[in-house]
Amino acid sequence: MIHGKKAQAISKGVMVALKILFIIMPIILFVALTVGSVFSSKQDVRPLEAVLLSKQILDCISKQGIINETFDVNSCYLDDGVSYYANATIYSMDSQFSKSSTSKANTELETGCRLGNIISKAPSCLNQTSYVLISRAGRLEKGKLEILVGVKKYDENI
């Protein structure tokens, strides 16, 4: 009799443990899958990188909307000549003056930006146009600034 009751108690305990296990296991699995999928998903952050780079160049070469004719984009960011491409061009509205400044030569990125989707593995590029004033020989000329930036495709930023 005593042995029978003991066995019954043990089997009940096993059942309770199994019940708990059946409920806890899916929860653990769920948490692992959810957290895993969020952290392992790859996101293309290059468009945001391009926006930030474009803003950095604009803030660097333009002081409250005024650009000196001797501007240089290479002084605006640390360029390794591989990951990023930047080109800024100013066109005067009052004269024939125009000037272009390009980051360290990266012909691959430049071509990629100019061609866009035509080529595979194209970089993420951004084109921005603003109205600016060009400071030339002590006077201000009305002008247009065009900034073109490109961010190369990498495994790290996608």
């Binding site: 059942m15 199994l18 019940k19 059946f22 409920i23 899916p26 929860i27 699995l29 769920f30 899958l33 959810t34 999928s37 969020v38 998903s41 996101q43 293309d44 952050v45 290059r46 468009p47 945001l48 391009a50 926006v51 474009s54 803003k55 604009l58 333009s62 409250q64 909307g65 005024i66 509205m93 990629g112 930006c113 866009g116 989707n117 080529i119 595979s120 593995k121 194209a122 970089p123 993420s124 590029c125 951004l126 084109n127 921005q128 146009t129 603003s130 109205y131 600016v132 004033l133 201000l140 009305k142 247009k144 600034l145 495709k153 996608i158």
Partner: protein, 166 residues
């Protein structure tokens, strides 16, 4: 005794299975909801990028616009002043409105190929209102003590994101 025990056991097994299935359904649906929400929130849409770019561009354009040197006929003679001064003159007497509109139109037409809407207001009063409003445009605002400037640029023109293949 044996019959009751068997029924009890099978009943318990059924309730356990039902609970397990319900928990699984609940978790799977939660998983998909979280996955969907995380994807929709993490994706950087081209619209967001274009809007940010247009906003930055618009703000810079407005800063330069206010400092633009112009020549206006005032008090019987031609005077050199900035666009800011011209706006202030227009605000106070309204006579310079045509000149202000002409200068502003010339600047923004050449920069944004006519795809913009510029409005300058002083409180409830409109000083000038140029171009057309667009539901697809992005607005940049500059608030000064004397007036507010709003420049809306349409995404179809100037700053554009050139999509790249991933």
């Amino acid at each position: 005794m044996m019959r009751i025990s068997k029924r009890g056991q099978s009943g318990e097994a059924i309730s356990l299975t039902v609970t397990l299935v319900l928990v699984l359904i609940l978790l799977v649906s939660f998983y998909f909801v979280i996955k969907f929400v995380s994807i929709s929130h993490s994706a950087i849409s081209p619209e967001t990028v274009t809007a940010s770019t247009l906003k930055i561009s618009g703000e810079e354009s407005l800063k330069a616009y206010l400092q633009t040197p112009v020549t206006a006929y005032y008090g019987g003679k031609n005077m050199n002043m900035t666009m800011y001064d011209l706006i202030m003159l227009t605000k106070s007497n309204g006579i310079e409105k045509t000149s202000l509109e002409s200068y502003s139109q010339s600047i923004f037409d050449r920069t944004y190929s006519g795809n913009y809407h510029l409005s300058i207001n002083s409180g409830e009063n409109s000083i000038i209102d140029l171009g057309k409003d667009s539901p697809f445009g992005t607005s940049s605002q500059l608030s000064l003590p004397d007036f507010n400037l709003t420049l809306q640029i349409y995404s179809a023109t100037a700053p554009q994101e050139i999509p790249g293949k991933i």
